[in-house]
């Protein structure tokens, strides 16, 4: 036990040291505020991680993975977040990389994996369609064989970061027979291919987050199909088990709590710092307690993962509550800020607010707006409740 504890502490210290040496303060500041660091900084950070052998720790060692067990992977993610490291290239590292390692052929692996690791390619995810949201299996974008190519027609929507990407992994319909899920294939698409057009979609708070892509007779080589034809559904559903531990998004919540407590010493209610106000203290305690329980729930999940190799529908419990905890923290932050949550993030580009309001007010309101999204994406809260109903309560 002590052995284990001390090697864990050493590992945490190693990560802390790496962050100290490599994480530029501006990058840390931006990610602390929940702002994206921009493509250049992201690439620079990823290069540093790759150089250290930490670019994609969960991958197979042959492709640059670190060969760590579940517990170490978990600590790595937690510690990186705690030090304010940005999350970069998540579609590359957490989705297409593992999918190609599990289901890709040798040529696909050799070509795409090193490029994904270094961010030479930037990937986005093309699953959703205007008519296929929660009921993803109803997707209609079709791919028809023509010699060595598929000809793809249709549209993909809500593509996060599609404007920053040059490649898309997508789900397309290759058969209309049998079960809907059984007629879907997984394709890798170069977004520069003729016939692809993109329309930006703004988030309601103004940021460019989403995109819609249109496919008009787009030729995609059959060699870019991952796995068998019509086997795409199972491939898309496979996600690394250890990633499911982060369904609770507790590391992001922990950072929000840090922001809330720092602000509570700075912002005054009446004539006293908020932290001395009884009503505020009760609200703060609520937020702290639910986060502490969530962290314990995540540690339980980690233990179960190490013991049993998977956490099953328990991930839905984590996601359902974790999103709520994050959203309530965001709300607490803007409520505490009061009028100082009024300026848009862009207001910080000039000097109009210099020294007048807490710097931590930056992006507070936008973060709250952004965090409405995770409750809808990746299996909405209602989808998670359905999983709990069917697979835990057996109703």
């Amino acid at each position: 036990m002590n052995m284990q504890m001390s090697s864990e502490a050493a590992f945490r210290a190693e990560i802390a040291e790496f962050c100290k040496q490599n994480l530029d303060p501006e990058m840390r500041r931006l990610s602390d505020l929940g702002l994206s660091v921009g493509q250049d900084m992201a690439k620079d950070w990823q290069q540093r991680l790759v150089a250290r052998g930490w670019g994609a720790p969960a991958w197979d060692a042959q492709w640059g993975g670190a060969g760590w067990d579940m517990r170490k992977l978990f600590i790595f993610e937690e510690e990186m977040a705690a030090h304010g490291a940005p999350q970069v290239a998540t579609f590359n590292i957490k989705m297409i990389g593992p999918i190609l390692q599990a289901h890709g052929d040798a040529a696909q692996q050799a070509h795409f994996l090193p490029r994904a690791l270094r961010m030479d390619d930037v990937w986005c995810q093309g699953y959703s369609e205007p008519g296929a949201g929660s009921d993803l299996a109803s997707l209609q974008t079709r791919a028809e064989r023509d010699g060595d190519d598929y000809i793809v027609n249709g549209t993909k929507i809500w593509t996060s970061g599609g404007h920053l990407a040059d490649h898309m992994f997508c789900l397309v319909r290759t058969s209309r027979e049998g079960r809907r899920q059984g007629g879907i294939s997984f394709l890798l698409t170069d977004l520069a291919t003729p016939g692809i057009t993109r329309r930006p979609i703004r988030h309601f708070y103004g940021a460019h987050v989403f995109n819609q892509f249109f496919f008009d007779n787009v030729r995609v080589p059959v060699a870019n199909r991952v796995g068998q034809e019509n086997a795409g559904w199972g491939i898309a559903k496979s996600l690394l088990e250890h990633e499911r531990l982060f369904s609770a998004r507790h590391t992001e919540a922990r950072r929000k709590l840090g922001r809330l407590t720092r602000l509570s010493r700075e912002v005054k209610i009446g004539n006293r710092p908020a932290i001395e106000d009884a009503q505020f203290r009760d609200d703060l305690a609520k937020r702290m307690i639910e986060l502490r329980a969530l962290e314990n729930a995540t540690m339980r999940a980690l233990e179960r993962l190490v013991d049993d190799g998977g956490i099953g529908p328990y991930a839905s419990v984590l996601k359902l509550r974790g999103i709520e905890v994050n959203q309530r923290l965001d709300r607490a932050i803007v409520q505490l800020l009061g009028p100082d949550a009024l300026p848009a993030e862009a207001a910080w580009e000039g000097d109009a607010l210099d020294g007048l309001i807490p710097d931590e007010a930056r992006n507070a309101a936008e973060s709250r707006y952004w965090w409405r999204g995770p409750a809808i994406a990746g299996g909405s809260q209602e989808v998670q409740r359905t999983i709990i109903t069917k697979h835990i309560l057996n109703l």
Binding site: M288, I289, L294, N296, M299, L320
Partner: protein
Amino acid sequence: MRFAASEDEVMVEDMLDRVLSAARDSAPRIDGQAPRPAPEELRSKLGDLGVWGAWLPDSAGGSDGGPRLLMTLARGLGRVPAHHGLIGGCVLPGVLLARSRGAEAAALARRIATGAMPVALAAMEPGARWDMSAPQTRAERDGDGYRLNGTKIHVAEGATAETFILSAGEGEGVSLFLVPAGTPGLTVAAYPATDGSQWASLRISDVTLPATARLAGPGEGAAWLEQAFTLAAFAAASEILGSCEAALRQTVEYLGTREQFGKALAANQALQFRAADLHTDIEMLRSQVLGAANALSQGYSLRARSDVAAAMAMAVQTGDLVAREAIHLHGAIGMTRELGIGYHLLRADVLSRWLGSAEHFRATFLRAAEEEEEAA
């Protein structure tokens, strides 16, 4: 520390479930009410199994099972509707007696471990809510001994106790005294609480005690009380966890069998989602209760105190919500004493009226968390 139950814990849990459900099922149905095992029977049955005081240290007649065992015991008891007396008759006096070095205290602790409940703690006073740090009951020196005057209220297991542990202000501090029930000047008056359990108030008028009756001096009493009530809150949170599990299980079963509009109630998504949310709440409570058990197992630290307060703040809220939903989702039958699902609400209420509201525990939590941060 692990979260998953150890083999021993699983064994105790199974054993408790077996014994407790047998006790419930064999209890007589009086006036068509849901069967409820008689407290004395329950106490002696569990006493035979050796679980009552197993969480206590060896020296106090326990088997060092610690907080994890206490959690298992309290949670198991929470699953059946029964006046078990664990917190008032076992945990509160047990913690205090185990801290004492006196021979009389040790003998009493050993009896507690067998399931007898000879001792009750009298620390609450009229109008003081949950603040036990400044009792109006006073202890004055009187010859070689002490003279006590004051009033105590909401004494759990007080109606049947042979001996009380009484808190009283002495100088600037709080002391604790062992007072036999028949002591002249001590008047015990019993009353029922809303869950049917028996409580007592004490009127203390010129009660004189020998010097040996003092269990803890003015420098110690407050800290002892705090530790005892922290463990009580931990046991209560564990009990509410068990109560929530039982209430949700019974409700989910009912949703699957009751039909309206030609289909099971469970076919309605609105009801499924309410069940899914309750399940999620209970999983969070379970995670925090386990976190608190593990922290307590490492010692009585600030972290343990904040974890327990967090667990109880959650338990009060979740217990209330799950119990209300369980009643509602049963429809009119949920209102009946006969079905008995309402017991979960009665019990969750009594535990929080007694030990503290969610707001009270949130305040306790935050103070402990802040102290912990300052210490770090």
